[in-house]
Symmetry: D2
Subunit: 346 residues, 4 copies
């Protein structure tokens, strides 16, 4: 087995050793199934320390499940969900919200994946009009699918705007740790304190094997979720192996260290690669994703050794992504190879 | 953390050490996501050695997902699926087939969960009648939900009957290993050789953490499955951690050793507990589940120390289930406690 | 165009002239669409006179729509609906409840299609158990699919039993008029007075062109129905042509006269055909359907001139059904032909 | 009952007398149900004369049903349907495609509701990428929701583009008659000759009571539709009353006369109202819808007597729509009132 040299996705990384150890440690004798075990019950309590005592936590195995089931639990099929056009729920889940939730998505164009009240407002007509899906949820991704961050104030504005209109706010937090690390705030600051109604809390991309959670913060929503999760094929029998991951993830600030490492490596790559003649880093690097222009020929050379995505063939943009497992050495080696590739095509 | 003394379900056990080691071993550096990694690709090949070169294998994380998605991939919503009334898909998946597949189940009464052509035939009318769901799949569980086994010949008869009527045959093989161990046959003998069209292949209950697969044997069905799995929220990003489990499971006959252990412990428990005055073991013990009559008062005493299910309150039946992790010592201790309980209530 | 001589179904009849006249009369100039017209609003009021002032009425065009949408409006996908195995929703709607509502049906065996609390009780286990669909609705058909009647007391008992267990009661009233005529009671007596929660109110089979309604009597359910009906493709734009039918249907007791005629003709047929040597009428004739045994050869002769269904080939049972449009002459001619057919095969 | 003075929608009109007569005429004695009657079978043949002998015709009662069921019959849930953002299926069906078909819509911005190959192309990436819904259908509306027309050549270009990419083309022809009348072509010219794969054929807006059809022209698609229609609650039992409408509609060019009248009245209104000082007709009037700017105060005066929609409050745009039932006198009276209103607010 040959490990990839990947700057493609934080999904390419394995699991952090401390999380793997927790999984191994969870493997002790018989325990109750389906989340009634001590590990899962304890992890619930740990998560409540982060999200507040009223949080209700439900573990699932994929980010798609977290997004779709969370949203489904709070909507009727005649509701609609407003999201950025490039949102993961709209673009990258093979129609899961529609097919498995009967959910109408209303995609709002946004270059950086961020929404504002002003961008949402035009899509809120037809309330009470029986021919139109009735808006019920605003879904935001933090950080967005292109690695951009909402400030806490920006989120607060969206929540206020939404709540004034009887809309719920969902946060797709598949990479929420990277956002909190970048903004130097806690999960609580980012969600509960801002009155976010429910979120998809991601662990997998930041060091878990596969562990995500739907977290309801608003006490009035999501009551039937346990049945829904079972029905949606997401109730893992040996749940301890999912919950134990998040327990370790939240111990000794592992989540934060991992996210800081990923973010720092992206900045390092941006600075060093951006300094290479002919390479242009697009925009700011808020978290652990960056976008670069470089000549197609240089990209082709790099792709022989490295794994990453050409984001837009038309303007020679590539996406590079770092993870908790990316090291300074890996970045520096990559930058060296970028230099060589650029020289080769100069 | 206090381990349970469980005779409740093979789901209460942890993972076999060899499987856990494989998961740990899979945690090496970056690999491609979503099943494009070497481990997953290699495990596909391993499974083909067991199920034949035409088998197409798709990993999922729960048995519910395996059942629902396999069936959904081969049915239109106007089709129906014939199954025993007590089938897992009918009774234990919180309506998943209906809600997430639009699937009409036709439950056929069967005390031991087994079907025969004669039991199925009366439900096959109305072919071509637009008001009636059109039968498309016969789903059998091997072993059944109450631990009974079809002989290979019985399965062969159902397949022949079904194929003569243009019906597909699905096997819910959540515990297929226990069945193969009991009947002393291979997975191939039990499925491919009998012309089963597709199956849910279970690993979790027999020693994995969470690893199941939908396996299509009939080359003409299930073409769109990869999209369907993604859409159904079951495409795990770090797939290596799922597939590595099955690789280890199939190495050095681990699956068989585990299943034999579970089955042997059930027989041991049946023999020893059945010899206790006042305890009656119901019927034969084909695999790793057994049902016993004993006085309610004795059950209540045992439940203070052990975890198992009262199956039917009306006739004082309990279900006891063993697993790969059940030892002779555990059985013998349990039998001793059964004796004591019976004496206490005598 | 040659009219059938049909004893097959009350669906084979056309529309009563008074109802057709109402449709023609509704065709006056422009009116608002989608039920906001005066005719529909007025018909709502007429229906409230029959079902009570709290009734909420929603018109649809098929009985399948009435059943599926009514039930869907009051259930989560993790709920189940208990019904007789031979219920229309289970047998004759091509899987619509499952496919378009994600509804889990729990079919209860019943030879005459009637349920009792005692028959329902065994299916109510597993409340709060996340693996099992949670019972929410008991659906009864009055009269049943084989023409049998619940007494008012029998319905009352089911409602009491259901409400005690937090279950709603749905009545499939596709032929409710025939039931009321037979039991000599009003719609109110049959539904609102018995605390039925919601019903499918049928007009089509008893003289309308196509007009059915979902009627919610329980004020706490069905709130989002207008959106659901639109989404379910059942919001007819020129609604006046649907509602006008029910207005006429309820004027001058037309519904009652029609139903009495249908019932009377069934009784007449039962008496006269039952008196023919070799013909046996099975059971009582409660409404407008009857079942008869006669030799296959006689059936074959009759089918050359008449249209009706062979109900069960194995025991030579045929179903005969009368409608509002069946006349004494039609019955008598049919009986004469039955006699001749029986003589021919004697 | 007071008829509206409506310029709001062609849905506000009643039925054409000839069509109502056909419905009355269809009310003769017993006929088979569910479309097996002579009237429906005959109407099938009539429609084949218009759409070609390979056309397969299925009647439904609403345009929403025609759109959703046609599309659903040719898609997997992991497919997507490309349409204009303002398409009826995206905007005006309360999420029916998503909820009742599991269909992913990809809305493409288009001011006049028309698509071109160039507008569609950017949305066709990710073929074979398991995370993305796979494009399968391009849906166009002719005329569009704002009354604009594709030329036959424009449609031909879309079809060629789509078929080259293995996409099917659906035409939402709720008002196809108005389009054919305006372009002076036949239904065949507009659909079959251009290789359209399937269409929603509308009758209701142009003089029927409620009669629409899903028509499959491509012989390789839509095979299971009869089951799907039944399951989708759209199989009307007394189908003759639906099909008879279309028979009359297609007799003696009634469809064409009606559509020409509606179109002519829209042009008349555009010309005469456009000549009123201060009133501006926006763009061309292709069919029977027109959009006008006039002062809010004038609109308010008119709304006291007439029924029509304010389309955009921000720029004082109103929509006026004519129908087969609109007369020169009605237009002229309306124009007089427009003049008065404008003078009053001058």
């Amino acid at each position: 087995m040959t490990a990839l040299k990947s700057f493609a996705s934080d999904n390419n990384s394995g699991a952090h050793p401390a999380i793997m150890e927790a999984v191994v440690r969870a493997n002790q004798g018989d325990l109750k199934s389906y989340g009634d075990d001590e590990i899962s019950i304890n992890t619930d309590e740990v998560l409540k320390e982060y999200f507040g005592s009223r949080a209700r936590i439900h573990y699932v195995t994929t980010g798609t499940a977290a997004n779709v089931l969370g949203i489904r639990a709070v909507t009727h099929t005649y509701n609609s969900v407003l999201c950025a056009a490039q949102a993961h729920i709209n673009n990258d889940e093979c129609g899961a919200p529609e097919a498995f939730g009967g959910i109408k998505l209303v995609p709002i164009p946004s270059p950086d994946g961020k929404l504002t009240p002003g961008m949402i407002a035009p899509y809120l007509g037809h309330v009470g009009f029986v021919h139109a899906s009735q808006p019920r949820v605003v879904s935001i991704t933090q950080p967005t699918e292109v690695g951009k961050l909402y400030t806490l104030k920006e989120i607060e504005d969206i929540v206020e705007f939404a709540h004034d209109r009887d809309l719920l706010v969902h946060m797709d937090g598949a990479r929420i740790a990277n956002a909190c690390a970048a903004l130097d705030c806690s999960f609580f600051d980012m969600t509960t304190a801002l009155d976010i109604d429910f979120l998809s809390f991601g662990g997998t991309k930041n060091g878990c094997l596969m562990s995500e959670a739907v977290i309801f913060l608003n006490p009035e929503i999501g009551q039937g979720f346990p049945y829904l999760r079972k029905q949606a094929m997401q109730l893992v029998s040996k749940m301890r192996f999912v919950s134990a991951q998040l327990d370790a993830y939240l111990t000794d600030d592992l989540w934060l260290k991992n996210a800081r490492q990923a973010n720092a490596m992206a900045r390092r790559l941006a600075e060093k690669a951006g300094a290479v003649e002919g390479v242009e880093i697009k925009g700011t690097v808020d978290c652990n994703a960056l976008f670069a222009h470089l000549p197609t020929e240089a990209t082709d050379i790099l792709l022989k050794k490295y794994y990453f995505y050409v984001w837009d063939e038309h303007d020679n943009t590539v996406r590079w992504m770092t993870s908790w497992a990316t090291t300074e050495e890996m970045v520096d080696e990559f930058v060296e190879d970028i230099k060589k590739a650029m020289e080769a095509v100069a």
